[in-house]
Point group: C2
Chain length 153, copies 2
């Protein structure tokens, strides 16, 4: 339980909540995992803007390594977005190295054990917050990632 | 704080979460109030179905009396639904007497102190869960409330 809390990186999660709020989303964080409140499929963070729903499992790591996601977490995310409508993402941050990066669930690599994995290269080349906001709100994708370095603070 | 928890009626809240889940909604409960997680406007319960968003403040009472809602809770609910899109409700249950009743925020009475109130009569005559589900999903409102007594368990 303690370990799970660490891996969710609560203070970093708050940072992501704040950034989504600043972009005009209504944002809600799930209660601490393990609570009875999470018997149902609930992502770490849900952000909604005018009926457009983004659902996130949040992973923060402290060095450049692949991220592993248990299949039950992916199933939970998919069940939620199937009901809500909207798009499921894994939100990854390598603390002190990258800003937030967002991997759509359909782009996860499956491991031999039936779980999921995101490579270091994939983390570095994934979407940033302005990209997914543009995508979801129907604007065109920002193609010049280099121009939005302010998201990397 | 202890009192606030009681007034939210957590176990009853779980019952409402369960009913919304059974109706096919993705459902998320806010973390316990007072937590840092609730610096932003977050309703007690948010339910989403295919981009349709319902936001609830939950009030459970133990006898037939009016329900009072502080204006900051109403403001919070309105801020959330303004961002998310969707409809803000006060969910009220008189334990052992009524099932869940739903009062749209625009139907609240304002008190002289600038807060809000729902009369006992209003509670009894308010929408039930199947009504708001039908309303939100674009079906016609069930006009015969008497026929849906199974929601009163």
């Amino acid at each position: 339980m303690k370990n799970k809390r660490r891996s969710r990186g609560f203070s970093h999660e708050r940072d992501l909540v704040h950034r989504l709020w600043e972009k005009g989303f209504a944002v809600i964080r799930a209660p601490a995992s393990g609570a009875k409140a999470r018997r149902y499929a609930v992502p770490d963070i849900v952000a909604i803007k005018q009926g457009v729903v983004l659902a996130f499992e949040v992973k923060t790591i402290h060095n450049e390594r692949p991220v592993y996601i248990p299949n039950r977490q992916v199933d939970k995310l998919l069940e939620f977005t199937k009901r809500a409508g909207g798009k499921p993402y894994i939100a990854v941050k390598i603390i002190g190295i990258t800003g937030w990066r967002f991997i759509p669930v359909e782009e996860l690599e499956e491991t031999r054990g039936g779980n999921y994995r995101v490579s270091v290269e994939k983390i570095h080349n994934s979407l940033r917050l302005p990209d997914i906001v543009s995508l979801m709100l129907g604007n065109k994708l920002l193609t010049d990632y280099a121009s939005i370095g302010e998201e990397d603070s």
